[in-house]
Structures are given as C-alpha cells and as structure tokens.
Symmetry: C2
DNA sequence: TCTTGACCCTCCCCTAGTGGGAGAGTCAAC
DNA sequence: GTTGACTCTCCCACTAGGGGAGGGTCAAGA
C-alpha cells in the first residue's frame, strides 16, 4: 500500500536534494527500498518519508550522519532515547559555551583590556600534595575542580595545613594537541600520606615570567598573549610546562570578576639572557 | 624591538598549530613578517601575537576565516565594530534557533505526535490582496510578518473587509534551494488599489490535500511529512506550489500552542486519480 | 669541519556533507 | 521514433585544517 517513488519524487516529498539522497545511500544511512540492478535507478517507498524527516531533524541540529545512523539502528526505544538525549545534552553544552564566548567577546569590545604588569620571579621547590593525570583540554576546568577538592579533603583529613594557594602545572601538549599531562597541587607543610589519587609532590623550582590575570578564565587567552609577546620580545626562550596559581578562585568567591590567577611561563635563568 | 620568531616559536607562543599557521599564510589571513626567498622559511614578529590571539577568538566562535579577514582588514574601528557586532548577532540568532530546535525535539520525544486527519478540498479562485517576493527560506517567517501586516494596513486604509484568514503560496524551490518565490495574501471582497508592495491578486483554484497543523511552526515538518506520505501512498502526483492558511496565528494569540495552520499540497484533480 | 638531530619546506591525500557539472544511459509521452 | 526530462557514475570544489612522505636547513657539539 506504499507507493514507489523515483529519487526525484522522493526528493520533492522530503525536501532533501537528490545529491543528498544519493549520499545517504552511499554511506548506508537511508537505503532505497529497491535498486534496479541493470540501470542503477533507485526506488523509494512513501513509508520511508518519516525516516527522511527524522534525518532532516537531526541534521538541522548538526548531528553527524554516523550518529544519526546509530539512532535509527538502535534496537529499542530506550537505547534510542538515550542516544538522542546524549546528543542534545552535548549540544546544549556547546551552545552554552558559545554563548559564554560571545558574551566575553562583547564585553571585550566594550571594555578595552587594562594593561597588566609582567614580572620575573624565581620559584623555589615547593613541597605539596598533588594529583596528576592526562586530560583533554575541554575537560580541564571540571577535572581541576574535582582534583583540588580531593586534595583539600585529604589535607584536612590528615590535619595538614596548606602553605599557599593552589597551583596547576600544564604540559604544552595540552594546548597544542588538546590533550596532555596536568598537575594540580596545594602546598603542604608536611608530607601527605597517599590517599586515592592524591600523593606527595614537589613542584620543581623554576624561573617564571608572571602575569596576574583578573576576572573570568574565559578571557585568559589575553593574558597568555600578553605574556607570549613579552617573552618573545625579550628573547627569552620558553622552557617546560606553564604554571598557574589560583590566588582567588571559585573556592574563594562566587563572583568571577574578582578572580585572580597568576600565570607563569618558564624562561631560562636570567644569567643566560643577553641584556 | 619586536623579536623575530620561527614558525615553531610562533606556534608555541600562540597555541596555533604549525599546520594552521601555514594555512593562514596560504589564504592570506596572517602573513609572516618575512619569508626567506631561498629557503621559504617563515618569520613572525612578536607584535603579530595579538593578531593571532584575535583570530583564535573568532575561530572559537566558528567565524569563517574569510570573515575574520574582513574584520582584520577593516579600514577603521567603526567598520570593524559593525562587522563583529553583525557576526555576533547572527551567531546569537542561530543559537536561539538551535535552542528552539532542541526544545522542539525534546518535546517531540516526550509527547508522541497525535495523528492528524488529511482531507481533500477543492479551492475556488479567491480574489485577494497580496505581496509577492523572492525570499530566502531563513527570512521567510520575518518576511511573512511584515507582509501580512502591510496587507492588513492597506485593506484597513481602503476600508475593505477581509474575506477569511491569511494564506501563503510557496514555490517548491523555496524548500529545495533555500530561496524561491513566496506570496502572502488576504482574501478581499473588493479589489484593492495598489499601495507599496501590496497589489490585487487572485489565488488560483486548486485541488489540495489538506492537513491541519496545531502548534508552533517549529514542528511543521512533521505535518509536511504526514502529508507527503499520504500523497505518495495514494499516488497523487504533486503539482505546483504548496499553500498554507493561517487560521490561528501570531496575530490572533500569543500562545503558539493554539496556532492552527492548514497546509495544502496541490494534487491532480481527482478525476485523474485511479481509485 | 663534520655530523646529528631538530626544525622547516612543499606536495599530496584525508576528513563531512554536500553542490556543480560532464558524459552517458533511461523513461515516458507524443 | 524522437524528444525532453530524468537518472546514473565519476570527478572536482568547498572549510579548516591533520597526517605523512620526501627532502632541505639550521645550530650545537665533537
């Protein structure tokens, strides 16, 4: 009882272009009900129209064809619902990210950046409690929150006082390859007993060019840029992973405007630098 | 006073990959300050770092490289600001669209679609006042609002009573090629004098397969799909542009849930249809 | 001065999801 | 039988790069 349609008819019925339908056939997303083995002519049936509509829906949401295929091939309604919900959640997440980026850019255009001072600082080796892991740059913020919470809890349980604000050490691959090693540490006066992911750590001594970044981390690239300009203008070679100290952060105040982050790029010891 | 950097140094300073920097050079977005004519080695200066940061910012917002180029090449700050603001506005618009699509899809998953009845109807020629234009499918909703408002105002000014709800006639190219001819008309008992874009019009007589769509237009593709399935299952060839009648719309109620839209696909006269 | 390893170059192919077009074969109506 | 609309496959183009081959360049150490 379902009519047979040429690809042109099916195209008009679904508002998907002929080119697109052929592509969906090639990748196995929407198979014609029949293909003439001699002429190669495709035939569709009208009960494929709802399927095509569903595909259009998901494509409008930029779901990859492969993911749409998984949804369509899902064995049961529960699996299907989970797949769709997962995609929607990801989508809403990325929407929120983009909105934050837009807001930050708008703000930047309206309020030009106040110039920040850069100073050199020699950091001695620092005994601390730390968590180290290889993370995706996209998960970094969430990972940091969890890690620093775990360290605080561990120090508190062992009655060890913290010797300063928390810090992070980030391998350069984290930025160049979206994935790399990250360490979050909290200076500690006595050695922590390993519990869970937390273990004792000594932040290595470094000579750093420092900038203090004020406000949300959404704008942190500006400070990084200023720092990079400074370092290269003074022909200081860059060595090793970057380091950040969170003087004032989410733990201290809810207002992102008040956050203070020190960002340090390791440089050669000044005795190597031609004046 | 600005240091000279190899592409690798510049890559580390800006967190843009070497591949990406070469690509930006190729497309003329970010030219190295110097290229060795013998070796082809690129050289960058540290005062190009802020430019690279700006490019990164915009790329995070998925701005096409070409558009970023226009922003960077803008002759003055005002032009630049306008270009950026325009992009941000488009971006926020598309974010809102996507959010609506997500919400609509979520809703669809939670509340399955009630089946709608389809009927045939023979529409006689209808005298009307109308506006016709070639529009982009993306602008259609906004264009419709403006057009129908102008028609209402014109009829009112000429004291002509309207003979029914407003309708639209949409060429198929509008859906298949994102751009096509659209007409919005309001039945009128006497002939309107042309004013502005508004002119007299006779909606041609057609035989239509009709479905009544209830609710927001975000879900209208479902009704279209049902209609397409019906039409092809009954082997009724599709002829000419689709037609919609806005029985209850934005003009009548603010609650999109209560909107009622009749959607009609032209079909061959029933005498041609094998039973 | 030579070697070595890190760095850089171009060129080509790959991605996803189409659009455009060439050249050839097919269908249906007149 | 012809014509015109339709369809087929194949190739190239687009974005914003990534991966890798094959080869040239640079700077430091021996």
């Amino acid at each position: 009882m379902s009519g047979s349609l040429t690809i042109g008819d099916f195209s008009r019925a679904t508002f998907l272009s002929v080119k697109t339908l052929r592509h969906y056939h090639r990748v196995g997303l929407l198979e014609p009900s029949d293909v003439d083995p001699i002429t190669g002519y495709r035939r569709y049936t009208s009960n494929q129209i709802p399927t095509a509509q569903v595909i259009r829906r998901f494509r409008d949401l930029d779901m990859p064809l492969e993911d749409i295929g998984s949804v369509l091939r899902a064995p049961d309604q529960t699996t299907r619902g989970r797949l769709i919900a997962a995609h929607l959640t990801r989508l809403e997440q990325s929407l929120a990210d983009t909105q934050r980026a837009v807001a930050s850019l708008r703000d930047l255009l309206e309020h030009p950046w106040p110039p920040a001072a850069i100073e050199h600082r020699r950091i001695p080796a620092t005994p601390a409690a730390a968590i180290t892991a290889t993370v995706e740059v996209g998960d970094l913020a969430a990972w940091y929150q969890g890690a620093v919470g775990e360290i605080r809890a561990t120090l508190s349980a062992q009655s060890i006082a913290s010797g300063g604000p928390p810090g992070g050490i980030y391998a350069n691959e984290l930025f160049s390859e979206e994935r790399g090693e990250a360490t979050v540490f909290l200076p500690a006066h006595s050695e922590v007993r390993p519990v869970g992911r937390v273990g004792p750590f000594t932040a290595p001594p470094v000579e750093l060019a420092f900038i203090t970044h004020i406000g949300s981390h959404a704008d942190v690239d500006r400070s990084y840029g200023a720092l990079a300009t400074y370092v290269t203008e003074h022909t200081l070679a860059i060595e090793g992973p970057v380091r950040e100290y969170y003087l004032v952060g989410r733990h201290d105040t809810g207002d992102e405007q008040d956050w203070r982050t020190e960002i340090g790029w390791p440089i050669f010891d000044t005795i190597h630098v031609p004046i």
